[in-house]
Symmetry: C2
Subunit: 521 residues, 2 copies
């Protein structure tokens, strides 16, 4: 089993992504999680360009890492500076990391049109920068920016840049497809030349502009690269970096490579790590994401559901548990009996034959209105219980009202009132909040707590809104998904309405019904 | 230039995706658009399994198509039926399409564990089904389901299935990686054997479970496949199908193949077609999507922005206009002067040196609060004008209030009041709506129309909500993006607040200020 080193740049190249803004705390949280997971190298910022990155390098020294080595990122010296006086190189040394990665130009177009220097002078920049850092006892990775474009434009020069880096003592030479435009066949062809010329460890750094970043990285490894650079969830500028969440299981499970600390056992954390990064980066997870996406092992068509019940291998390329994901059976227009029953089974519910048709009918009717039970198991469970007559209504809502008032630059309030009934008793409560849903949640829980004190410990933890695009002539419909927590137990409910307040309200009320039912048991 | 045929299955396999539910009208709209674009084949449903698909085949006959041929999809006959009495085969003939695609098993595991028949009997199913359809003058494509898994499990049998399909007269044999688990190297290896054995046209049908569907499709083409099956935007079950939106430009622009009616000129519609499909399917576009994504040519890092200004090739793999996309300069934490100035330049705004620092400061301050100007050019323009003192406030808001009241199963209302001032005049108006934003929009426009009648023709066209996840101790913040239209002209504004109503209100008010400023000019 050949060893492949995993180099993560979520905290440097990943931050170039549109919509990604990480605070210092976020960066530290991500670094710790990726270290625990077993990533070999963590590229954490560009100290010369970003004060936040400089603080990060200070802070990370106080953290005891299990495995990962921290890398600082920067460029070769500026043409007008001596290497020992170059502020960028100086910032790299000051970052005080075991690894330094510097990028240099290997595309003649860049040397001429961006740096405005001679090709010969660029070689001097590369040599002196690496040499200087090596003499300061750094492990130095040389990132040959735009290498593949450079090779296609001027192969002799591109190779000469690599040769220079090798002579200067670089510990690894990284071939970067900076513009992300390469296809696997191109990587293969160029790698076959490079591996003949370069004896130093080779790495690959791919971007996804041709939708081939993962495949390009794998092709490079098959051709001899031993280091793979990428980001978690493929975050990164433009179309993103090569996605390590796909590359790692492909290397380990499909091609049998050894990724060091990322053992088969660790790989079971992959889904959790992937979602953790989305959460910290405040991005919506990509449900379709290979291996770790919410839909990655979801089965909808009746034929598929049927076959998967007979043998999961029929429609699953791996056992989802190997990457910590799970099989899901979807309830949808294409669902037949098997989906509904399988889903109910998953939730531990029994459904007598007589109720299957009415349930299927109700599910389809609600889906037409915009409901989706795919992310709201608790609402689905309530629906099943209600239809099968197994549900006790523990409270009724009589009415609610919520108002927001804002007087510009002066005063604002959000206030909700809720009137509910439990048995013969009515309760009218009022709550104030940051926003209308917050106020409704407070007023509702205040009222219910009178009868069910357990409700005091129930907490709203997530709130998602999806506007279902208005089609010809009809008003837009809002779908709201909420998550609640009680004592470490979490559940989700859904609401749909043309009024966002009412949709939110439905989901809130369902969640209260759900936890009261669960707690009573 | 070798010809490659593009076979779209958005309307069949794409519909298996979680969250994708297409009405008959949606299906017809998509078929027409893909035909116009120049796709060769449109697989539009499974008539035996789905009544909606049967209606589709009736309706599409009334449509005059420019180029595309319609394909109906189904399976080989059931083991227990004679071919002429098989309801699935009958439904395929009834669909009355020029092309019929039938899938059959080529993986011994499936034959044994799902069909529960002998390997020999399965060959009979394949032969008789194809032969029967050919004798009914259909163009028949045989889809060898799970071919690659089948080959890895039992190569002789998998090849025998292809040989049988060829003998029966199939017009093309499609190799399907149904579970999506293949890697490019595996496709290459197996294709090199298949092309020696099979002389009929070969097609590839890939899924994205290993994140290699696009690369796998390209590898198959390089090895001799002449038909590529996939879906637009890669919609499809689990991790999706191979994305034709990436494959087509890779084939045409990168590898120089001929995709028939999809000429270089047509390719300029790619971004528009991709977004059209998202819109009709009611899915949020993937901003990171290669070639057509909103971020695909977006530059954030100062260094990159700088270089792109010198020569776009430095950080763009193709000219975005070739696929109808465009370059975007982002305003962000990593922005320097160049981003702000470039963005302003893009919007036709001039900023004197003295205002650059205050503007940069303000942008960063607002971004810390959760604002993002990346999708809200109109708000950015207002901000620039306000900071540079070039803005005339055409109205002031004094206060607003919005209330929702619901009495269960009985009565509900949503009512908004707005008090505003223009010069010395105050106006208090009230509006009712489906939801709070709708009511506020109505009341605000009512008030402004008194002074600016042009406002009557302004229409809210889109409303997007993003909940910024609550972090330790702080309340969740809501970011709202709205789109408005006036006379075919469209613009976007943004609002941020812990109260969703207030965030929406800010965006509404900004939009009114914006259009009044534009109209005055």
């Amino acid at each position: 089993m050949k060893r492949i080193w995993i180099y993560d740049t979520t905290l440097r190249d990943g931050k170039q992504a549109e919509n990604v803004n990480l605070s210092l705390t976020d960066m530290l949280a991500i670094a710790k999680r990726l270290d625990q997971f077993g990533v070999d190298y963590l590229e954490c910022g560009w100290p010369a360009a970003n004060p936040k990155d400089r603080s990060f390098f200070e802070e990370i020294k106080k953290v005891e890492l299990h495995h990962a080595q921290i890398a600082a990122f920067g460029s070769t010296r500026h043409a007008k500076n001596k290497v020992q006086e170059d502020p960028n190189i100086e910032a790299l040394l000051k970052a005080d990391t075991p690894v330094v990665t510097i990028f240099g130009k290997s595309w003649d177009l860049h040397v001429r049109e961006v740096f405005h220097i001679s090709l010969e002078e660029n070689l001097k920049l590369v040599y002196e920068s690496i040499d200087y850092l090596k003499r300061h006892n750094k492990q130095v990775f040389f990132d040959a920016e735009h290498f593949f474009d450079g090779y296609r434009s001027n192969p002799e020069y591109a190779l000469k840049v690599l040769e220079t880096a090798e002579k200067a003592g670089a510990d690894a030479i990284i071939l970067a497809d900076t513009n992300g435009g390469m296809l696997p066949s191109m990587i293969r062809e160029i790698m076959s030349v490079v591996t003949k010329e370069v004896k130093t460890h080779i790495g690959i750094h791919a971007h996804n502009d041709s939708d081939c970043a993962v495949a390009n990285s794998l092709e490079a490894v098959l051709a001899g690269a031993v280091q793979v650079q990428g980001t978690f969830n493929g975050v990164g500028e433009r179309c993103g970096n090569a996605n390590l969440v796909s590359i790692i299981p492909n290397l380990v499970l499909k091609l049998g490579y050894d990724c060091g600390a990322i053992t088969l056992e660790r790989l079971k954390q992959l889904t959790e790590v992937s979602h953790y990064i989305y959460e910290i980066a405040n991005l919506s997870p990509d449900n379709k994401q290979p291996y770790t996406g919410h839909s990655a092992f979801a089965h909808k068509g009746g034929v598929h559901v049927n076959a998967v019940e007979k043998n999961p291998k029929t429609y699953e390329h791996i056992d989802p548990e190997m990457v910590g994901n799970r099989r899901r059976i979807l309830i949808s227009e294409q669902s037949g009996k098997s989906n509904i029953l399988e889903k109910a089974h998953e939730l531990g519910l029994e459904i007598k034959d007589a109720f299957i048709q009415p349930l299927l009918h109700k599910v389809k009717e609600m889906e037409n209105m915009g409901y989706e039970f795919e992310g709201a198991d608790a609402s689905f469970e309530l629906l099943v219980k209600r239809i099968t007559g197994n549900f006790v209504e523990r409270f009724d809502i009589i009415s609610f009202r919520v108002s927001s008032f804002v007087k510009t630059n002066d005063y604002s309030y959000v206030e909700a009132t809720v009137k509910l009934r439990v048995g013969e008793m009515e309760e009218l409560t009022v709550g104030e909040g940051d926003g209308p849903v917050n106020a409704l949640d407070i007023a509702l829980k205040k009222g219910l707590s009178v009868f069910y004190p357990v409700i005091k410990a129930v907490k709203l933890t997530d709130y998602k809104v999806r506007i279902l695009n208005p089609k010809a002539g009809t008003a837009a419909v809002t779908r709201v998904l909420v998550s609640f927590q009680y004592n470490g137990y979490e559940w989700q409910t859904v609401g749909v309405s043309s009024n966002i307040i009412e949709a939110s309200w439905q989901a809130l009320v369902d969640s209260m019904h759900y936890i009261l039912m669960k707690v009573e048991k």
